[in-house]
Amino acid sequence: MILSKKDVDKAIIFILFIIVIVPPLFVEKYALDFLIYILSYLALVGAWNIFSASTGYLFLGTSAFFGIGGYFYSIIQYLLPYGLSNFTSGIFCFFLALSIGLPLLRIRGPYFVIASYALSLLFSNIILYYEQVFRGTTGRWLYIPDVYLLYSIMAALTISSWVALYLLRKSRFGYALFSIRGDEEAAEAIGINTTLYKCLAFGIAAFFMGCVGSTLSSLGGYIDTSTAFSPTISFNTLVMGVLGGLSLKGTFISAIILSIVYELFGATGYPYPFFVLMGVCLFIYLLYKGSVEELIKGRAP
């Protein structure tokens, strides 16, 4: 029997699935934390891909919805049971993204990159202002759930964001988004409601980002604006997405490798040599591999 490429892919997906499901049974708590971080980045990159890779709008504001999800969770954490409150913060982010998307998605190209970064700074500063002026504190305590429960929720989120991404690529909706990346005016001319599709994709991405934000914030038991709206989250997500080209496989691999590398070296007390090396490698890679060009030229993955 000769295995076709599709069979190999299926086998790899199955093995990955097992790797995600099995660890809680025997792994230590730190290793589980480590896995949660990797899964959270995977989910974020999946969500980022749903919007940015399909429409060609480079979104640099992942931490905006990450942080809003975390803060909304801190408000409703005692009103609803644990998993449901995360889901609700995701829903809140979905509607927030729909309402923001209307003005924000009019902006294109490099302007959008900066405007989306401005979005996360805007949210962070408004919340910081509110907290300091009206509550007198800058952070909030969160309920810390059992780490196994948290892990299973994160795993479910990651799997569902990647399944959503996969389904999107196969659907009418996905093709409409690809046509927006190709040429927005042309897409409009052949009768695609570009505003609706863009806003919906933006909302779905924001939903997953909000869910991940609320879940990951409760791991630490504490949230404040400098960690929840940290620009590192936005930048890391963008880099992972861009480095992976646009294909699902490439993004998946780059997200796993980069998140492991970040977690192992970036979180130490003396990360400077590591980041310098990382930046130089990225520079050389971008220059010679040119995965960026694939993104620009709009080749369908």
């Binding site: 009019r106 405007a115 310098v276 220059l287 993104l295």
Partner: protein, 294 residues
């Protein structure tokens, strides 16, 4: 909200012009390379940071007057930008069309913005630094204004004026404006656009160096200050329309006044939110900024 008086308005006016002049200069340095050769420099703030460190070393270690150290900063940044340009950017600029260059340079300079601050932090600790210079003040109608503030306003406006003269009155400026309007047509009439791309990037980086020098006179410096200034410069340049010098000046003054006003009447926290809110609202109304052209 404090009581509105003459002094209050005068303080807002001076601070607005002061911040505005600095931001206008920073915005112009980002805007010109974008307009002329579609370079989106995400590491612009880190260039400012490097300029600030060069001027800091010159002042504190080699005891050079900070104003006189400005040519030194300028040439150091020029050399550094030449190095960066010939390691990678020139390839991107020659191979790709203007629309594609935007994303390519954005990701490349993002890699740079990851390297530079960490390199400085690695070599010279991530501690906050600052120094004092010309802190004595003049008295205007009961408001004390430090001499260095006035000097900064003077320097940045004269530099902006000189830049405008170069762009409008010289043959070199004419070539730059031609390249801005149409790459291919400029080549057809005999403009060496490689040279123009190179010089636009160098001019932008040199302005970043001067900005760094002027920023150290008023604010503290640390390796990670770049992100903040990149964002401010982008907001200013985008408000005015990327590529427009006049737009950068007006955007800079606008942002400077917004900051000065909201620092006084609400809190320093709210001022950042207001600046970005202004950015999003203006882009919503005019998705390509306020002005077009040089």
């Amino acid at each position: 909200m404090p009581e509105v008086s003459f002094t209050f308005l005068f303080v807002i006016l001076v601070n607005g012009i002061f911040l505005g002049s600095l931001y206008a200069l920073a915005g112009a340095g980002l805007s010109i390379p974008y307009g002329v050769s579609s370079i989106i420099n995400l590491s612009y703030g880190d260039f400012i940071m490097l300029g600030a460190y060069v001027s800091f070393f010159a002042t504190v270690i080699f005891k050079i007057n900070p104003i006189l150290s400005m040519p030194l900063t300028l040439s150091a940044l020029g050399l550094f930008a030449t190095l960066i340009y010939y390691t990678g950017l020139h390839k991107v600029l020659e191979k790709l069309t203007p629309e594609e260059r935007g994303y390519a340079t954005l990701t490349l300079t993002f890699a740079l913005s990851m390297t530079l601050p960490n390199l400085v932090a690695w070599l010279y600790t991530p501690n906050y630094r600052s120094y004092e210079y010309m802190t004595w003040s003049l008295d205007f109608f009961g408001v004390k204004i430090t001499m260095i503030k006035l000097l900064t306003i003077l320097i940045s406006f004269s530099l902006l004026g000189a830049l405008r003269l170069i762009l409008k009155r010289t043959l070199f400026g004419l070539r730059m404006r031609c390249t801005l309007e149409d790459d291919v047509a400029a080549q057809l009439v005999g403009v060496n656009i490689r040279k123009i791309h190179f010089s636009s990037f160098i001019i932008g980086s040199m302005i970043a160096g001067v900005c760094g020098c002027l920023f150290t006179l008023h604010f503290y410096l640390h390796p990670y200050m770049g992100v903040e200034y990149t964002m401010i410069a982008f907001v200013v340049a985008i408000l005015g329309g990327l590529g427009s010098l006049l737009g950068a000046m007006i955007g800079g003054i606008l942002i400077g006044f917004l900051e000065a006003i909201f620092t006084c009447i609400t809190s320093p926290l709210m001022r950042i939110a207001i600046v970005y809110l202004a950015l999003i609202v203006i882009l919503w109304i005019k998705p390509r900024g306020l002005f077009r052209g040089v």
